[in-house]
Subunit: 296 residues, 2 copies
């Protein structure tokens, strides 16, 4: 996986620099808010969503700079969802990637607000028009598609269904719905956003949305497997927490082996969605494989 490792390292660096440029400086009467936003964003994330958007854009012949700011916006949305998810009223996590979670470091109120501000900033970035009015249809579409996948019909809907499922016995169907929304939706949006900013056809945009969706599901199953098999040190958080919390997981419902097979199947299905217009597909192939191999 050296192609992917080199690619990830280079693009993660570009995403981090874009985030640093786009986030407000730690100054003024709301300095503590800005500090909390930066603490949450610069916490060692893999930048999977922005890298996926950039990789899709590049596979179609687009340039990194065509999609860099929108890609950084995806990371803001992902980060906000983690900050709110970690809150005591939600998953009540003290650690995230080996560091205190935002509410542990800055207090609950500031963590709630930092999440709100990151989500809002993401849409400001997606809508802003450095390229002038000619790019406006693409920008408006980017906002609409990301909002659709991140909101009640997508990611937040998945989180809510996850809360409801904790109180009932979840079936595989319900678990798949939750993962598809909680994780798949924003990855689908990431891949579609990359295609949109490369100027892809509506058909190819939809194919990439399906690609991202399948990668997201595979990724989440790998996450479930890791939660059962990995150590706290390797995970950067407490393992086994989901199962103890009574949350349904793929390994709990299917067993570890069948879960691995399902993740493999989804990764293959994702690769089959990559349209012919993607002339450079090595990185995308490896991204789909990476999503499941981290669960090994």
């Amino acid at each position: 996986m050296t192609v992917l490792a080199d690619y990830l390292a280079a693009r993660q660096g570009e995403v981090d620099r874009a985030l640093d440029r786009l986030l407000p400086p730690v100054a003024g009467p709301a300095a503590r808010l800005h500090e909390t936003m930066r603490y949450a964003v610069f916490g060692g994330g893999k930048r999977l969503r922005p890298v996926l958007a950039i990789a899709v854009c590049e596979s179609l012949g687009g340039r990194v700079e065509d999609v860099l700011a929108p890609a950084a916006a995806l990371e803001m949305i992902h980060t906000y969802s983690l900050v709110h998810d970690d809150l005591p009223a939600m998953d009540d996590d003290d650690l995230r990637r080996g560091r205190p979670t935002a509410h542990k470091a800055f207090g609950e109120a500031e963590a709630i607000l930092a999440g709100d501000a990151l989500l809002t900033l993401a849409f400001e970035v997606l809508a802003s028009l450095p390229e002038g009015d000619a790019a406006a249809p693409r920008r408006a579409r980017a906002v609409a598609l990301v909002a659709r996948e991140a909101g009640a019909a997508g990611m937040v809907g998945g989180q809510s269904a996850d809360l409801t499922a904790e109180r009932t016995a979840a079936s595989l169907t319900s678990l798949e719905w939750i993962h598809a929304h909680k994780t798949g939706a924003l990855l689908a949006a990431s891949a579609e956003l990359g295609a949109l900013h490369a100027g892809a056809s509506p058909e190819d945009c939809r194919a990439f949305a399906r690609f991202g969706h399948a990668v997201g599901l595979a990724f989440q199953i790998a996450d479930d497997i890791l939660d059962r098999t990995a150590t706290a040190a390797a995970l950067g958080k407490t393992p086994g927490k989901d199962e103890r919390a009574g949350k349904a997981t793929y390994p709990a419902l299917l067993g570890v082996d069948a879960s691995r097979q399902e993740a493999d199947r989804l990764a293959a299905a994702a690769r089959a969605e990559i349209p012919a217009a993607a002339r450079e597909r090595a990185v995308l192939d490896e991204l789909a494989r990476y999503a499941v191999e981290r669960g090994r």
Copy 2:
């Protein structure tokens, strides 16, 4: 104020119908999320922000339907900010407009998610293009301007500065900054959004932003006065809470009389900003007056 009363009643009804159409139905695996969103939105709000946007649009010769969906999006943002503000980690309010707050009725986790989903839906609505690509520059601008005023540099920044101020002795300068951001920013965005959707010039859009900003400050001072002088029944929430929480307020810093004078001055300043292009200004004049007279 019968001109305004009739106008408010008619436009509030249209805003409520638009909100009902735009919010997801209570169904599917995320039904509880949708129910929480609707509970929070249909809680008897005055719809001041959408009505302001519509009134500005109409004053410039625009039609209600040009701005109705974007106006409803403003109410979603206002509602999300109240839901998060009422949380135990923030203001810890049990009552809002005489009813249990969203987290009291549906639990904290669902209230956090409903706020997130309302904020996200607002941007989806602002960016959506029923009018086709010709409206894209206006839609992209609408998203960018609302996000700027609602986020870290606007409303959320004001909330965070308010938290910081609770721990220090706030001056009048700091209180004005907080009110200008916490309340003024979204009202400025509302007026500017109305002008934008009426096709106003950039100068007139900016004039209306200043109008909304001044109305917002006047409104917030009137709110501070009400918090000190009104009864719980009239207020629909516990009065005197801000002062007991050690929060600075205009009456605490200036006294009630000087606060009323400052609100009057701001309402007059707001009216002076209304540009000549606004041919129908009776409703706008009365809206500015209404903002302060509720504090009587």
